[in-house]
Symmetry: C2
Subunit: 333 residues, 2 copies
Amino acid sequence: MADVAAMAGVSHQTVSRVLNDHPNVRAGTRDQVLDAIRKLGYRRNRAARALATSHSSTIGILTIGSEFFGPQSTVLAIEAAARAQGYFVTVTALDRYDAYSASEALNHLVDQGVEGVVMVAPFEKVIEALDDAGLTIPVVVVAARTNVPDADPAHYVYVDQREGARQATGHLLSLGHRKIAHVSGPTGWFDATERQIGWQEKMLEAKAPIIEVPAESWQAQSGYEAGKRLVDSVRAGEVSAVFAANDYLATGVLRAFWEADLEVPTDVSVIGFDDLQISNFLIPSLTTVRQPFRDVGHAALTELLDGATADKTPKVIVPTLVIRASTAPPKSS
Amino acid sequence: MADVAAMAGVSHQTVSRVLNDHPNVRAGTRDQVLDAIRKLGYRRNRAARALATSHSSTIGILTIGSEFFGPQSTVLAIEAAARAQGYFVTVTALDRYDAYSASEALNHLVDQGVEGVVMVAPFEKVIEALDDAGLTIPVVVVAARTNVPDADPAHYVYVDQREGARQATGHLLSLGHRKIAHVSGPTGWFDATERQIGWQEKMLEAKAPIIEVPAESWQAQSGYEAGKRLVDSVRAGEVSAVFAANDYLATGVLRAFWEADLEVPTDVSVIGFDDLQISNFLIPSLTTVRQPFRDVGHAALTELLDGATADKTPKVIVPTLVIRASTAPPKSS
DNA sequence: CGATGCAATGTTAGCGCTAACATTTTGTGA
DNA sequence: TCACAAAATGTTAGCGCTAACATTGCATCG
């Protein structure tokens, strides 16, 4: 900076003023300074700036360390939005989904000096770690948490999973199904819980039977195993439709039914959740619930930056049902 | 820090020494200091530290802004490895895949003060932007680039795409196929080019015909369109197997063949590339080439941190063929 | 034409830490 | 017991920037 000042024939403070768009700088002076900056290829030292202003212009994202479609899309959207606002983004992924890993990760971010944190980790234990962390910086949580403690200072942004599950179940009910099994997501995940509740609510409203097959993970493998367990029930006419907690699970279910020579949707309907890129190209193409992850990412960043506003109401985004070929009216038996 | 020093009854410099594991500190003093740190909940200010040491302990990752399986897995692996080494990671995603976006993104990272950059963006234009950027910090590129200029100071780490394509093609040839069409990836991507070359090399060696159907994107939609264009050739016996440039494309191809009542693998074999989580559960389960992205991430970080070593030989990681149910010997016609 | 006021620029201090050197304490051997 | 070295601790300066105040330049008006 001193070099730039010398070259432009001004004081370092004037250079600083130019850099910070201070109004009281003559146009001619400004040009000289900018010229010198260009000629010298000068870049401001961010550490010094952060030290002097006590602003790091950095936000932290804590996410889960797996290749899940939803969190990943959300993280990308947050990053893009943050960059547009002149913020830097530091990402930390969790090794394991427990409170210890989570507080380690949070520490890592706080050590880094972030001004705020977005947690894209819809796993219960992880979010609970936050309640104990006692952070003094703004926090936005992207998770459909319903039992938020009053004392929790975090802001919440999420897609209404329960509503999505109600849409999916409602679609099957309106087709005439009543024996709708739910392949539920793994325990500990908000999304799994909410989807299960939405399905169950709708089923109880319709006075339909509750048939739940829990999956051990979100992976297709678990869906496949759940599907195999459902084959006999389908054959026996005890299940005419399956609502899988996400599209990976649905893919596994489709596969299991195919292996058992059960035709979808003739013998049994299948519906998923997420709308992956490939869901339209599965055999048959998958009816599912689409989540607008980009919107979630944007909303999360907005919430973080405008966090001063006292409005702590969760920002809820509504998913949409995408009807394709894996659902049809039940066989008239 | 001054508070800690006062509480422990030492000078701030002694606190600094404790924090930096300096050897010349008496055990008792160290304990007092650590105690004071704990009691006060003191955290070092990273900006000040960075300013004093001129080390930011931050590395930048530049990646593409889409939900692709490979880059995402690689980024996660790099982040985990970096954190284990005490580094912070700043991620920037590209809005568009052109040189301008790329240099903007690089500037963003350099402004942030990163000590090194890993580019996980196997797109030609993006990498070319790097050659002009004239960065003075270490750079590792994760991309199967073959025409690296001598002057290019970057280190390269990648999975041998060409070899993977040769494995895939070789597998089909050894099953007895000769009319193997390639649904090639979009132009501008190193991976697409390399896979195309690997396939072509192997086909020329076998004196087999070159039938290529270019896809416009990496998405299943493009694979579907390519598959539809191949249906007639398959029916006419002009194509007995398809090597799709990735598993999304392969999914689309499978779907197109299914719609046309072509059975896989009886009527036509299909092979993909990447080994997605769901590839084993497609109908039929997909033979594909698995890429060890975790290894790539680790190798990239190692290369970045040990970059001082003069050895600029690219680190090449070999993929493995995963044989499943979508490939079989051709119909004896 | 000089007083006045504001715009433009300069000067000084300090953000919180570490490096380098200065000083004090401790331990050792003759 | 004292000199001496080595270990332990303290003191000072400065990393590169911005905030706050000080000064200068310049236009305006009676």
